[in-house]
């Protein structure tokens, strides 16, 4: 590992100051991605590593007075998986977190790290986008809040500057009429990186027609996005195998049109169709 300055920040403000003064800096949360990157030693190697892992104010999941769910970025995947609040209000985010890596990785890795690393296969991101989550970034220059769908600009790329610290992730709880699901497919049964994943939400009106539909595939598009084409097909319809399969096919077509054909496409286009269908089925029939 090449040398770098290590700074342990006693507060959010200190962390922001340190990142600004010792730029280029990287924030150290759980370290499950950063340490590998540092050891690899290439790319934008930081001058300093600002350790924020001791900042307890960045940890935890709470319902805010204005009716949102707020997640501190240092909350670990294990904590997301076992949170009663999430299980009740956004269960697919818990499910997604519980499929990440191994117990060791889930105990170290954080949701903030997952978001900031911005890998196309990040498992907490599809549910967060489906939830319409916003992130708050803080730096010495101030604070800004952005919706996640505007946050990502490509694989491992987002709009945050190097000195900006993610301080909060928040979203509205899913309405009680909605059901959510997360499915993923790796290359083996455990400790597997998603080759494809899907987060889905369905809500029904009183007549049993679909009134709310959200589909976010992972590892499918160059930039994270909701599969609006497929969502539109579902609205106002009654659920059926045929409908769900058609929605899956629509996502598959969109994937191919955005990414072009590659060696893995033949496999992925068949599988994404199925994963979308299954994710929708898992949301239930109202």
């Amino acid at each position: 590992m090449k040398p770098f300055d290590y700074i342990q920040a006693p507060s959010i403000t200190d962390a922001c100051i340190a990142a600004a003064e010792h730029s280029p800096a990287k924030f150290l949360a759980g370290g499950t991605d950063l340490l590998i990157e540092l050891r690899r030693g290439n790319g934008n190697y930081p001058r300093s590593v600002v350790d924020i892992s001791f900042l307890h104010e960045l940890r935890g999941i709470e319902a805010t007075p204005d009716g949102l769910i707020r997640i501190g970025p240092l909350t670990t995947h294990s904590e997301l998986s076992s949170s009663a609040l999430l299980r009740k209000n956004a269960s697919f985010l818990s499910s997604a977190a519980s499929t990440i890596g191994s117990p060791q990785i889930r105990n170290r890795g954080t949701v903030g790290g997952n978001v900031m690393n911005s890998a196309a296969c990040a498992d907490t991101v599809p549910p967060l986008i489906a939830l319409g989550a916003s992130v708050t970034l803080q730096s010495v220059e101030g604070r800004r809040t952005i919706t996640l769908s505007d946050f990502f600009i490509g694989p491992y790329k987002n709009i945050a500057r190097g000195d900006e610290l993610l301080t909060s992730i928040s979203f509205s709880p899913l309405p009680s009429v909605c059901r959510s699901s997360f499915v993923k497919l790796g290359r083996r049964n455990a400790l597997s990186i998603s080759r494809l994943s899907v987060a889905a939400v369905l809500g029904y009106d009183r007549d049993g027609r679909i009134a709310d539909a959200r589909i976010v595939p992972g590892s499918a598009f160059p930039v994270w996005r909701r599969a609006r084409e497929a969502e539109q097909m579902l609205l106002g319809e009654e659920p059926s195998d045929k409908l769900f399969t058609a929605a899956g096919k629509r996502v598959s077509e969109a994937m191919v049109s955005y990414t072009g054909r590659r060696w893995s496409t033949e496999y992925k286009e068949a599988v994404i169709t199925i994963l979308v269908r299954r994710a929708l089925e898992m949301c239930g029939r109202g």
Partner: protein, 778 residues
């Protein structure tokens, strides 16, 4: 001590668990230690036009930057054929080939120096797969052939003929400890290498070779490896040679431990094979004639490819008698890292070929594949000679088949699987039974030898040195057990030393599953020498005390921590009390032991003889659940029955069976090696290369050892177990194929290759569905 085998825990279990076990990287060295780094070729094939090391050498903290011309001895590290330079001279022939070496005080300085090395390459055309090698006639050595009977005539007379092609993939060893060596200089030209090697004597010889010194100046020591799997049989030599060169150049201790990604990029793998086959058989499924053509991807240098191809050819029969059989083989030279030994050593590739044939025969005839297998098994009285002329003695196959069919409820489950498949559209189950018959001995016959040095100290403790190396397989635990049993003492009294070329010289690699067989016998022979000396002396002592009825040395027995006159059990002395007497009476308490496997002989040119001391047998039944829409599968249950003779340590043997099987499951399913169009390895870290995890073992995993008579002519009646269970993973591969085949009601032959990744499976299913539709519309 009873004569019954029992399961003592691994002699290093406490150290493994607490992290105190010492591997190369854990050996404490003083402040003099330098870090070594290997600079590798970024091209699969290129001319080295020029290079300049001056800037790199000027970095503070850098003590040496070496190129091929700086090698004082031979620039050569090929283990058998001298076709592998230690550092590339004028040309690089694969991505990851070593070109320069750097030693510096820190890793960072090494990397800085590497950045400043200026080298101009002129890229050349590269051969990156077997087909291209074939069309360019890029052959290594010559074609090989083993034949029996008249295959062509038998094809003409056969009721049915099938033909096809099978691809089996490469496999990374994925030892947890990457290649590592620490070299410490001594006086004059002496050097000690602490190497993570399966073959210390060869490491010693090659270090002496590159340094241009004699072997009596080089000591190689191995406490333990963090896994070997064949990957450290020859290729540990490379890291050792590079480390030794830097140690010599700097006159300081130097250590190289390869980073995981570098290790995966630089080292060879299990050979990829492209196999073509043709088989003729009767309406009852009896194989009448088989022709198998094995094509191996050798990589850029010979390494052990000839021996690996040979073992593949000798296992192309697996467990089946084939009256007319032709096996041919060729190794193709490509611009990839030289492929090397890996658990099974060609056996898995040869076995996969014939298992594919038998599986297809059964599907063709609409018969249960297990039934077709058993009909073709080697017989116990007739139909019991292999295509190379060795008689299959003590054949356990029929007996194991009957036991396993019963204990696994095979027949009931076959019906249940068919019922499940008839009622499920999107999920199918598959079930398969596969056997293994694995030949035990190095096929290069002279390698079947081993040495030991046993010291007894006057406090009654025993130190056993032997030529085998410990790589986590439990060899030292078994050796310790063998020594304790020979001396009739408790395990506490016995310690096994680190393997060291100055204690036991000129050894063979710990490989070919023969570690316990060969070294155990050598230890027993050393113990026999010591016991006869002790018996003579103690008989004298007893006789002096009982002048009327002397004790005969030949009647002395060693048991219960004592030395006892078998005729007069009251005459006994504690083992520990006897040793000072030996010293006082001036009798040596140190002895060497030597063993060579008797009764084997193999004529490589004619393809005839008895290459193996004996065969180890095993059998497995696996059941999978397949998700037809994603290709994902779950291993529901595996039953294994394995033959280890009279096991020296059943717990260790079962561990080897489970581990070998699971490693094989990885080869058969999730482990996929991919190179890009420039010959660069794409799957060079655990995020892209997927070995099985605990989540991938069978949900219901039942392993038992065959209850059987002691194996004749081996150490304590035991059998080798390191490699044979690997082949049992083919039961999983064929269970997946069975499930795929159910998509078309077992009417059509699925396209299938190895590994059967989710992707391979799904595409195979899609093709079957398309074919079924086409046939239905006709």
């Amino acid at each position: 001590m009873s004569n019954q085998s029992y399961s003592e825990t691994n002699e290093s279990a406490d150290l493994h668990v607490t992290g105190e076990a010492v591997y190369v990287d854990d050996i404490p060295v003083g402040g003099q230690l330098l870090t070594g780094r290997v600079v590798i070729s970024p091209y699969a094939h290129a001319k080295i036009v020029s290079f300049d090391l001056r800037d790199a050498r000027r970095i503070p903290g850098v003590h040496a930057v070496l190129a091929h011309a700086d090698i004082p001895g031979d620039n050569q590290m090929g283990p058998v054929v001298k076709d592998e330079p230690c550092l590339a001279a004028d040309e690089v022939t694969f991505c990851g080939q070593a070109v320069f070496l750097i030693a510096a005080e820190t890793e960072q300085q090494c990397r800085e120096a590497e950045r400043l090395i200026q080298v101009a390459y002129e890229p050349l055309d590269a051969i990156l797969d077997i087909e291209t090698a074939m069309s360019n006639d890029s052959l290594m050595g010559s074609h090989r052939r083993i034949e029996r009977g008249d295959v062509e005539a038998a094809f003409a007379a056969s009721d049915h003929i099938i033909e096809g092609e099978l691809r089996t993939g490469a496999q990374e060893h994925w030892y947890l400890e990457t290649q590592a060596c620490l070299c410490v200089p001594g006086e004059r030209d002496e050097i000690t290498a602490y190497s993570s090697t399966q073959h210390p004597s060869e490491t010693q010889a090659l270090i002496a070779g590159v340094l241009g010194i004699r072997r009596n100046s080089v000591v190689v020591e191995v406490r333990r490896m963090g896994g070997g799997f064949g990957g450290k049989e020859t290729q540990a030599n490379h890291t050792a040679c590079w480390t030794a060169l830097l140690c010599r150049a700097t006159r300081r201790p130097v250590k190289i431990r390869l980073f995981r990604d570098d290790d995966m990029i630089m080292t060879g793998k299990r050979h990829r094979f492209l196999t073509r086959y043709k088989a003729g058989f009767t309406g009852n499924g009896i194989l009448e004639a088989v022709r198998i053509e094995l094509n191996a991807d050798g990589g850029a240098a010979t390494d052990l490819s000839f021996a690996i191809l040979e073992r593949a050819m000798l296992h192309a029969d697996n467990s089946y008698y084939i009256a007319n059989f032709s096996v041919t083989g060729a190794i193709w030279k490509t611009n990839l890292p030289p492929n090397t030994a890996m658990r099974g050593f060609g056996g898995p590739q040869g076995t996969a070929a014939i298992e594919t044939v038998v599986d297809r025969v059964a599907r063709f005839l609409r018969k249960d594949p297990a039934e077709i297998r058993s009909r073709n098994f080697y017989g116990t009285i007739s139909r019991n000679t292999t295509h190379y002329g060795q008689t299959v003695e003590n054949n356990r196959l029929p007996e194991m088949y009957n036991q396993l069919i019963r204990s696994s409820d095979y027949r009931e489950r076959r019906i249940a699987v068919d019922e499940f498949n008839a009622t499920h559209e999107f999920y199918k189950k598959g079930l398969a039974l596969t056997p293994v018959k694995f030949g035990i001995s190095f096929t290069t016959s002279f390698l079947n030898q081993a040495g030991a040095l046993v010291n007894i100290y006057t406090d009654g403790t025993i130190l056993v040195n032997h030529g085998g190396t410990e790589m986590g397989q439990g060899l030292h635990s078994k050796i310790r057990h063998i020594a304790a049993r020979e001396f009739g003492v408790s395990l506490k009294r016995v310690k096994v030393s680190a393997t060291n070329t100055s204690k036991v010289p000129n050894t063979s690699a710990t490989a070919a599953s023969t570690g316990s067989d060969l070294n155990g016998m050598a230890v027993r022979n050393a113990a026999a020498t010591l016991k006869s000396r002790i018996a003579e002396t103690i008989a004298e002592v007893f006789s002096e005390e009982n002048r009327s009825s002397p004790t005969f040395a030949s009647h002395i027995v060693f048991e219960d921590e004592s030395i006892i006159d078998g005729d007069h059990p009251e005459r006994r002395i504690a083992f520990a009390d006897a040793m000072p007497i030996m010293q006082h009476r001036q009798v040596s308490l140190s002895a060497t032991g030597y063993y060579r496997t008797p009764d084997i002989g193999w004529d490589r040119e004619k393809g005839r003889g008895k290459p193996f001391h004996y065969y180890a047998f095993g059998m497995a039944v696996s059941e999978v659940l397949l998700d037809l829409l994603t290709g994902r599968h779950k291993l529901l249950r595996t039953d294994i029955l394995h033959d280890t003779g009279t096991s020296i340590n059943p717990a260790i043997d079962i561990g080897q069976v489970e581990g070998g099987f699971i490693q094989g499951v990885g080869w058969c399913t999730t482990e996929e090696i991919k190179w890009d169009e420039n010959g660069r390895l794409m799957t060079h870290s655990p995020d892209t290369y997927k070995i099985p995890t605990v989540g991938d073992i069978p949900q219901d995993f039942r392993v038992s050892l065959l209850r059987t008579d002691p194996n004749p002519g081996t150490i304590h009646g035991s059998k080798a177990v390191g490699e044979p269970p690997f082949m049992l993973s083919l039961s999983v591969w064929l269970a997946i194929k069975d499930a795929v085949s159910a998509v078309a009601g077992h009417e059509l032959e699925p396209e299938f290759s190895l590994p059967a990744t989710y992707e391979v499976i799904l595409l195979s299913i899609e093709k079957l569905k398309a074919k079924t539709l086409k046939e239905a519309s006709l």
